[in-house]
Each structure stands twice: as C-alpha cells, then as structure tokens.
Amino acid sequence: MHPFAYLAPTTVKEAVEVLNKYGDKARPLAGGTDLLVKARANVWDLDAVVDVKNIPELNKINFDSEGLTIGASVACCHIYENEQICDEYEGIVDAASIIGGIQIQSRAGLGGNLCNGAPSADGICPLIVNNAIAIIEGPNGKREVSVDDFCTGPSKTILENGELLVSIFLPKPKENFGSAYTRFIPRNEMDIAVAAVAASVKLSPDKNIIEDAKIALASVGPTPIVAEDAAKSLIGGTISDELINNAASLAKNAATPITDMRGTIEQRKDLVEVLTRRMITKSIERARG
C-alpha cells in the first residue's frame, strides 16, 4: 500500500479541518471495504486517511419523532440487528443484509456505500425510495442534500473536498408505507448486482389505492436512477396487475445500462422490468402488513 498517514479525529469539526487541509489527498475511512481496496490499487494519491469511527455522531443510530438518523460509519450489522429499523425500514434492511458477506457487513455501512458512489451500490436505491437526506458538514458549514441528487457519476458524488458525510436522515414512514429492495446476481451471495430495484409505496387507509410511490434502479446507468414516470404511473391508482405491470414497463424504459462482463443491455432492461414488478408487489404486501 502506498504510504499514508492515519488520522483519527474525535469531532466532526476536527475531521472537516483535516479533510480540508489535505484536499483530494485525503479520504475519510469508515468501513474501509471500498477505500482500502482502492488505496491498494492506487486509485488515489493519498497522503492521509481520516478514520471517522471515533466521532460519536458518525456512530449513532437515533430515532426521534421526525425519523431515523443513521451515522455515516454505522456498519450494516448494526442496521439489520436493530429491531426498530427492521420494523420500519424494511427496504433498507433488505440491502444491509446482502452487501458482501458477514465479514464485510461487520464494517461496511450505508454512509460509505453512498460516498463510494458505485452505480451498482446496494445501499443507495433503498435510501432513495425512503426519501433519505444526506447530512453533510464542510468548511462552509452544514448542508443537507437529498440522496436522489447525491451521485453524479460512477464513483462521483456532490461531496466537495473537505466535506464529510455525517449521517443519513430517514423520515418516519407514514401509515401504510412499505419498501423493498432486491438485485439480480448469478450467485446466491457475495456478488455485484447485474441489475437492482428498490420500490416504496404508501397506501390509502383501505389499502387499495397507491397514494405515493418511489422507484429507484441500480446497476443500469452511471448513477442510481430515480424512475419518476414509473412511480407517477402508480400514484392514485387502484392496485391491480395492470397498474403494476405498466409501472414495471416504464421503469424498464428509464434504465440506461451498458453491456459489460456482468450483463448485456437487453438482459439488464428485462431484469429491471421483472424486479420492479416484484418490488412494487413486495412493498404493497409490506404496506398492508
């Protein structure tokens, strides 16, 4: 590994100061499961890594009347072992349970998954359909960015030099809300998505009409894709196979995949249609309870 210094600040302020000082020569270290692989491959010319796990705000899971705040360095295992998260944010738990194997889940978290900005990231689409907000601190203070807008290209995000993702805020799910995430991989475990879909729905009190919906696609474009037309087509509709199939077909149209070692354009688009149908159906089942 190319030599770099190891810094372990204990406050957000201190972390932002050192990140700002080093500019693009430093990266925050949370779980390290992407960072250390990339550091070893000399993807960056690093002078320092800034371990952010000693900062209390980045380690916290906190519920309040508004929703859930997950610190940026909270590992997947702490997410799926939290009963309240499992109850309220099922789509998020779907993703946290399938990122890597158990060893990876001991370290990797949603914050790092988001900042790594991979188009195939399992964690980002479920955050999007849960209307997640990224809480960022930087040299110019705090800002909040919708996770919908966080990724700007493969491994590229809106984070500027010196900025640190502190936490992810998830609004409290409304009544009759459900979310779900799945991916297609050729193996059963430990693989990168060929295509993946997250969906969420909010149902009417009689649970027959979709009042709100959101759909996001992974691994079928340079960033996670918010399939707006597909979600809009569901809103106000009475639940039926036709309604769901139509939305799935619109999601397929929103996908802009490439052909690569993991799959072809045609396969990926078809997968999006199938997985969208399944995830809308699953979200509805979960919303109905």
Partner: protein, 158 residues
C-alpha cells in the same frame, strides 16, 4: 505533502488474550500487522480485496477481513485469530471436526473458515445448515468443496 515523512504509530491491542504494544506503519493492514509484526502467520493472505475470507479474524466479537482493516484501527480492541482457538488441553471442537470430516485439502482457506465458523457458533450454538452456508458465504475454498466444511461446522454445533 507527499514528501513529508510518515511516522510509525503506536497501538495497544489485545491479541488472543495477550496485551501488545506495537509500533507499525499507519498504512499497514491488520493482516500484515499480525503476520509480519506480531509473527502470527496463521491468518492467511488471499485476494486482498474482501472476497475470499482467508484473512478472517475476530475484532471485538465481529468477524472481519483483516486485509481490509488498518493496523491502527485495532488500537484498544480485542483481536482473536486462529492461533487463539486451540488450548493446551487440545484442539477447539471446530478444529477437531474439520480434521474428522476431512474439511480441508491445501489448508489456505482453513484458518479463515475456522475463525468465521467460531464467530457463528459463539453466538448461535445450533445454527441450521442454511444459516451456516449463509454465514460462510464470505469464505471461499478452491479445493475441498463446501459440503465437508459445512458438515464439520454442523458436527461442532450443539
């Protein structure tokens, strides 16, 4: 800044129940720290990118790929490796079961499988076969095949 000298860092850690004060380069992985600084070569290097699990160790009760942990990150933590499994009285039940079930051939993956499986059985003494297979998905074996390994873990289960 790239010309500035990078100093070694001092860490205090417990490894297999013994306290260590170590002076290591800050960019050294936990894997290399164990193998090259402490001299515990039971933990193996495989893929170096978190796929194979050969370097699995236990840190504060959680199994991790030690190639994806920096040495300085285990300052103040409790690290357990395959060397900590057997006692003067004999092999750990998992090690005994791996022998009896012939759950290894070349042996490179074995320390990782043992530490992973111990991480499961320490918390869930009677896991289902499905649970064992899921838990061990982060460990790859290229020669024995998984059935014998799964059988060995089942044998060591209660």
């Amino acid at each position: 800044m790239s010309s500035s000298k990078i100093n070694k860092v001092q860490i205090s850690t417990k490894i297999n129940g013994q306290d260590y004060d170590l002076l290591i380069p800050p960019y050294m992985s936990l894997l290399d720290t164990l193998r090259e600084i402490v001299g515990l070569t039971g933990t193996k290097e495989g893929c170096l990118d978190g796929n194979c699990g050969a370097c699995t160790v236990n840190v504060d009760g959680r199994i991790v790929d030690s190639c994806l942990v920096l040495g300085p990150e285990v300052n103040g933590k409790d690290v357990n490796t395959v060397e900590g499994m057997a006692t003067p009285e004999g092999l750990h039940p998992l090690q005994q079961a791996f022998l009896e079930e012939a759950a290894l051939q070349c042996g490179i993956c074995t320390p990782g499988f043992l530490v992973s499986a111990k991480g499961l059985l320490d918390n869930e003494p009677s896991p289902s076969e499905e649970r064992i297979r899921h838990w061990l998905a982060g460990n790859l074996c290229r020669c024995t095949g998984y059935d014998k390994i799964i059988k060995a873990v089942q044998k060591a289960s209660k």
